[in-house]
């Protein structure tokens, strides 16, 4: 049957067309932006402090148990985040035995490598970490900031726009802080972050996932 179909030009064309339509439909569905239809109001000031998200504001030493999967590699240990001054952070990952895997400085959204093991010290990987920590610590540069409301799902949303990239910080109404972060480029989701079980204003669990590369970062709050 399949052999017949592919050797009969009429049927072949009909099949190809259907498959093409299906692919286009799937593509459109996959790319539809759930936040696009919501009415948005631009905030006159370019200030992220209107977002109820306290992780970037804490002066304490924050320690997470980290579990990172990058393609087939798995590594982890303790992720230490320390705010040194306004818009300047140190972020270090050490193994259980204490050996450092990386030690970064995030300064006004730019990631500088203080130390990194050779296996990870590659431009592409460092850029990825820069993007992730900018997202988590709300440090990325942006042009405009909008407030959105999703009445259907009871969500308050803040949108940061920068060129073709939009980042959404989402708060469910019953929550007092941000529960979800989504970074989208040209309408497809690039990175998503789930934040759960807040303790003393810090997310107890963070699950960061890239959708275009196989990278996952799971963090559990220790202190």
């Amino acid at each position: 049957m399949i052999y017949y179909a592919f050797h009969n030009p009429k049927i072949k064309n009909r099949y190809s067309l259907r498959i093409l339509v299906l692919i286009i439909l799937l593509f459109i569905a996959g790319c539809s932006n759930p936040y696009k239809k919501l009415t948005k109001v631009e905030n006159p000031e370019k200030d992220t402090r209107i977002i109820p998200y306290s992780l970037p504001l804490s002066d304490k030493t924050i320690i997470y148990k980290a579990d990172i999967t990058f393609y087939k590699n798995n590594f982890g240990g303790l992720l230490v985040i320390k705010k040194i001054e306004e818009k300047k952070f140190r972020i270090a990952l050490t193994t259980q035995f204490g050996l450092k895997i990386f030690d970064f400085e995030l300064n006004h959204g730019k990631l500088n490598v203080v130390f990194c093991i050779d296996q990870l010290n590659k431009e592409l990987i460092i850029k990825t970490f820069e993007e992730d920590f900018n997202l988590l610590l709300l440090q990325q540069d942006f042009e405009k900031i909008f407030k959105l409301k999703n009445t259907e799902l009871n969500q308050r949303i803040w949108q940061l726009n920068s060129g073709k990239t939009s980042t959404y910080y989402i708060q469910n109404n019953e929550s007092t802080s941000i529960d979800y972060i989504s970074k989208r480029k040209r309408n497809s989701e690039k990175i998503s972050v789930g934040l759960r079980n807040y303790k003393n204003d810090l997310p107890g669990e963070i699950n960061l996932q890239h959708h275009n590369i196989k990278l996952k970062m799971n963090l559990k709050l220790i202190q």
């Binding site: 303790l78 204490g98 203080v114 220790i222």
Partner: protein, 213 residues
């Protein structure tokens, strides 16, 4: 005038020398006797068990990060580190593999196929036994002593290890020649210090401790 310049230089040198050396320790001229003692002890240690407190020093933090747990060693190459704080994590080294129980999630690695793990394995077993100083292929060793302790300073020779660690310091109590603490100093001067407490020598250990299910 000349005299005061000489004095200043002399003091600067003294300060530099004291900074470079662990406080209270002086170099041992002839290390043969110490090496023989340690080798004899290594040969006679069939098991070691101990609690440990690990301090991680990061230059940008004012306080150290503390982890705690228990460790067990069985001659010649079975090693178990069990962290109980800040979370449960067990790592077992045996002759062929490394087993990890990370808060209930068990994984294993083949040390033969992973050079990095095999290096870590050798280093850990060697440090606990104090026998790492015999490994002249991998380390340059310097010997020091204080009133109560010996200090072995190991400087890695291999490129892979050198990129991570500048020096490994092994502190050995003179009373029983057992390893009291180890300090791993990274190239950045950040360090990890592991202190061994309640050490027990040659007490029986159940072999199942070195298996993870």
């Amino acid at each position: 005038m000349n005299k005061s310049i000489f004095l200043i230089i002399f003091f600067l040198f003294t300060i530099l020398i004291t900074v470079a050396q662990e406080k209270g320790f002086k170099p041992i001229e002839n290390s043969t006797e110490l090496r023989n003692d340690l080798n004899a002890l290594t040969a006679n240690s069939s098991t070691i068990q101990s609690d440990f407190v690990q301090e991680k020093h990061l230059s940008f933090l004012s306080e150290n990060i503390i982890s705690k747990g228990k460790f067990a060693f069985k001659n010649p190459d079975l090693l178990r580190w069990e962290y109980t704080e800040p979370f449960n994590y067990i790592i077992v080294f045996n002759d062929k593999s490394i087993l990890i129980n990370d808060d209930g999630k068990i994984s294993s690695f083949d040390t033969q196929s992973n050079k990095m793990f095999s290096e870590i394995n050798n280093m850990m077993v060697g440090t606990i036994q104090g026998s790492l100083f015999n490994d002249s292929e991998r380390f340059n060793v310097k010997y020091f002593e204080s009133e109560k302790q010996y200090l072995l300073e190991l400087e890695p020779k291999m490129a892979e290890m050198k990129s991570m660690l500048k020096t490994i310091k092994i502190f050995i109590d003179k009373t029983d020649n057992s390893v009291a603490s180890i300090k791993m100093i990274e190239t950045s001067e950040d360090y990890t210090k592991i202190n061994f407490l309640n050490r027990k020598l040659n007490q029986p250990i159940d072999i199942t401790k070195f298996q993870l299910q």
